[in-house]
C-alpha cells in the first residue's frame, strides 16, 4: 500500500509557530495527538459525530477529526493546552471545575473550547444559545445541566467574562 507523501506546513498552535512535515492524509487530530503529543484533544468517534476532538481554528470551533492537518496551514489553532495561563485556569475552565461540569472529563476539552468560542462571540448568551452552541458535543456523564450552569457562570450574565 503506497502511503501519500509528506508536506511541510507552518501553523500556529497555542501561540507558538510550528513547522511540521505531515502526510497529506493525516487529520489535524492525528497531527496534534500523535506527532505533537498534544493529547488534551480527545478522539471519541472519528466520524464527526461526538465533538470530543473540537479545537479552535482562527477562533472558531472545528472537529479536528474531520479536518486534514494540511488544511490548517498558516492558520491559528487553539487546543485545550493553550487556555490556562501558566498555572492559572482560564475562567471557563475554572467555572467547569467549580460547578461540577466535569465528571470523567473526556468531553471537557472539546466542551470548554466550544464554550470559549461561544463566549468570545456572545459574552452574554441565553440558555438556548448555550444549548445550541454545545449541541454537537456529547457528554455521557453529566446530562449537560452543570455544563450549562458553568458556561452561564463564566459568561457576562454570570458576572464572569469581562
Amino acid at each position: 500500500m503506497k502511503k501519500p507523501g509528506k508536506r511541510l506546513i507552518s501553523l500556529q498552535i497555542n501561540g507558538m509557530e510550528y513547522e511540521v512535515a505531515v502526510r497529506s492524509d493525516r487529520t489535524l487530530l492525528e497531527l496534534l495527538r500523535e506527532d505533537l503529543m498534544l493529547t488534551g484533544t480527545k478522539e471519541g468517534c472519528d466520524d464527526g459525530s461526538c465533538g470530543s476532538c473540537t479545537v479552535l481554528l482562527d477562533g472558531s470551533p472545528v472537529r479536528s477529526c474531520l479536518l486534514l492537518a494540511v488544511e490548517a496551514e498558516n492558520r491559528e489553532v487553539t487546543t485545550i493546552e493553550g487556555l490556562a495561563e501558566n498555572e492559572k485556569l482560564h475562567p471557563i475552565q475554572q467555572a467547569f471545575v467549580d460547578h461540577g461540569a466535569i465528571q470523567c472529563g473526556y468531553c471537557s476539552p472539546g466542551m470548554i473550547l466550544t464554550a470559549k468560542a461561544l463566549l468570545d462571540e456572545n459574552p452574554a448568551p441565553s440558555e438556548q444559545d448555550i444549548l445550541h452552541a454545545i449541541s454537537g458535543n456529547f457528554c455521557r456523564c453529566t446530562g449537560y445541566n452543570k455544563i450549562v450552569t458553568a458556561i452561564r457562570a463564566a459568561s457576562r450574565n454570570g458576572k464572569g467574562g469581562d
Binding site: 500500500m1 485545550i80 470523567c104 471537557s108 458535543n137
Partner: protein
Amino acid sequence: MDELLHVGRSIPRKDGPIKATGRAKYTVDVALPGMLAGKVLRSPHPHARIVSIDTGKAARLPGVRAVVTAEDSLKIKHGFVETPRYPADQYPIAVDRVRHVGEDIAGVAAIDEETAEEALSLIEVEYELLPAVFDPEEAMRPDAPEIHPNNPKVDEPYRNIGGKTATSWGDTERAFAESYLVREDKFYCQMRAHGYMEPQATVAHFDYSGKLNVWTSSMGVFLKRAKLAKTLGIPHSSVRVLKTYVGGAFGGKIDLFHHEYIASLLSMKCHLPVKIVYSREEVFKAARPAQPLIVRIKTGVAKDGEILGQEIEAINDSGAYHGSGVVVIFLAWGFAMAPYRAPNLKYEGYSVYTNNLVRAPQRGHGAPKMRFAVESQFDMIAEELGMDPVEFRLRNVRKPGDILPNGDSVKKFGLSECIERVAERTDFRNRHEAGKRERETGATVKRGIGIGTTAYFGGSLIYPNSSSAIVKLNDDGSVSLLTGALDIGQGCETILCQIAAEELRMPVEEVQIYAADTETTPVDIGSWISGLTYVTGNAVKKAAGQAMEKLLAAAARELDADVEDLVARDKQIFVGHSPERKISYARAVAASIARDRGDSIIGEGHFRTMKDVPTHPSLASTKGRWTENYSSYAQVAEVEVDTETGAVKIVKVTTAHDCGFPVNPALVEGQIDGQVSMGQGHILSEELRVENGCVINPSFLEYKIPCSLEMVETDYIDVITEEYKRGHHYNTKEVGEGYVSGTVASVANAVFNATGVRMKKTPINPYDMLAELKRIRKEVS
C-alpha cells in the same frame, strides 16, 4: 461532637483542574518508546467452526512484529462469574469455534495502525458455518441450535439455558384466588450501548524484568490483574495494572476484555509495548453492550390496593457466553422485591445463550428494566382500581426495619418519605388528575406526569470483596492517601480525600491521593456494585482514624497532656482547656520518629461489607445476604407528547433520594443528572439494532444518545437517613446506578398519563407512539 469540616460538603472535585486543562492522561493518551499498534481480527460470522487459520502472510508483512492466535495461548477459559454451577465458559481468544459476530480470533502488532490493518486482511481463516439463533425465546426451545454442547446443563432438556434463578415464598396461587384484581403483562427492554466517550483502550508492556505492565480503560485494576494473571498463566506479582484516567464506563468496562488479553500476549511475544484502541464502530460492534430483558409479571391485589401476590419471569438474552447474564437474572429478582412488600412471590429468571454479542452490566444492571415493568404495571393496576399512583405505592412500600426474604434488613429505608416528598414538591396528585383530563382534550401537545421508584443495593461480596487503605503523614504534616480505588468519573478520589481530611482534621488540599496501582496501592473492590463510598470510604476512615490516634498519642506525650483533652485543627493539636499549649502535626510526626524508635505515622484500614457473611448470595436460589444498605428513591417525570409527530419530550425530572449520607452533595447531584440523561436515552432513543447477530447502527449518528438540545431540567430532594460520626463506620448507600430506573419508569407512566398510551416496550419511539395513538383513537370512535 466536633462539627464536620469536610464530609457533607460540596467541594469541587480534586481532579477538576487536571481534566479541565487536558493534562489528565487517559489510556488512549499513553505513549511509550517503541510502542506498536495492535489490532484484533474478529469473526464475521455469528456461529462457525474454525477449520484453519493461516497467519503466515500476515507475519511476513514488513512492519509486523507479532501475530497471535489461540495456538499462542494457554487456552484457559474465564467468565464474569466462575462458580461450580456456572464455570468459566469463554476463551480469551477463540479456540475452535466462534459464537458471535466480532469474536476475537487473532491479534497483530505492527509499527503503525495501517500496517496492522493490512496484516489483519492477510490472515486466512477457513470457517464451517453452523446454524445460529438470535432470539432468546427461540433459543429456549428444546430443538434450537446448541451453542455450548459441552457445557453443563442448568435446565434440562433446554440446551441454551445458561443460567436460572428461581425462588418463591408464600402461595401465589392462593393469593391470586383471593385477589380482587389480577393483571398479567409482558414488557420488553432493548439492547443498549454504554456510550462511554473514551473507547475501549489498552496498552500492555511486557518488560525485560518479566513484568507485564498494563494501562487499560477500566472500572477497577485488581479484577483486571486477577483475570489477566489467570488467563495468561502467570503470577499476580508478574502483572501490574496502573492507573489512567477513565473516560466513562457505566458498567461496560468491567471483566476481562479480550483485547486486553491479546495486547498482553502480543507484548509478551515481542517484548515491546502494544496499544490497542477500538474505533467507535468497533465499540458498537464488538465491545459488550448492555443486557436486554423480557419481563412477564402477574400481580394480584386486594380492593384497597394491597399487593397479595406476584409471579415474575425474566428472560435475559446473554449472548454467546454467560457474561453478566447469570447475574442480571439474580439482580432482577432483587430489584423486583426490595422496594415493595409482596407476601407471596414466585420468581424465575432465565439467562439464555444466543449468537449475539456477550453482555456487560450497565448502570443499574437490570433495575431499569425490572422497575420499568413493575412500575408500569403498578400504574395500570392503580388506574383500574381508581387509585392514585402515589397512594398505591404508599400502600405497599417497605417500611424502615423491614426484613427482606433473604434476611437483609432495609434498615432506615427512606422510600416512603421519598415518595411523599417528591409528590408534594411536584404537586403530583393534582397534576396527575389534570394529565388524565389531557387525554380527553383536543390539544396537539399533551402534558403528563408520572412516578417511578427503586431501591438499590450498596456493595456486595464479589472479588476482591474488601478494600484497604493506607494513610501516611509526611514530615511537613501533610498526608498521602494510598487507595486501590479507580475514579471513573464519579468522583471517588475526591470523597476519599474528604473522609481522610475529616478524620485528620486538616485541609482537603493537603491530602494527596495515590490511586489504582496494583503494585503500590492496597486492594480495592472497584468502581462497580455501588459499594465504593461505603466499603473503600470506611477503609479510608479507619486508616485515617488510626493515623490520627498515633498522632494524638505523640502530641499528648510532647504536651504532657491526656489524649482526651486534645483538640486538632488546621494541622495543629491543642490542649482544649489551655490552647497556648500546642504542637504542629509536623512536630508531632518528628517527635514520634525521635521517641518511638523511628516510628513514622502510618494508618491502615480495611473494610468488608457484611463481615460475618462468608460469601455472596446464591445466584441460583437467591439465598444468602445480598447487601447491608438499601438506597431508595422516587422520581417524578413531566413530559410533553406531540400527538402529531409522536415525539416525547421530557421536561423535568424531580428526584427524592435516600443515599444515606451524601459525603459530597454536588457529586451526588452530578450522579443524578447523569442518570436522568441515561434514563432518557433508555426510554426514548437508544437501541442497538441487530441483524443476524451484527449491529447495524454502529455510530453516534445512528445510535442516538441525548444531546444538549434535549437536556432535561432536574430537581433534587435529599432524604437523609444516616449520619457520619467519629469512631464508627458510616452507612452510605448507593447513588450512581439506580436513578436510571426511576426515570425510565416515570416517563413511561407520564406518557400514559398524558395520552392513555401504555408502552410495554422501550425505547418509546415516535413511530410506535403514533401507531398506538391511532389505535386508541380507533377504539374510542
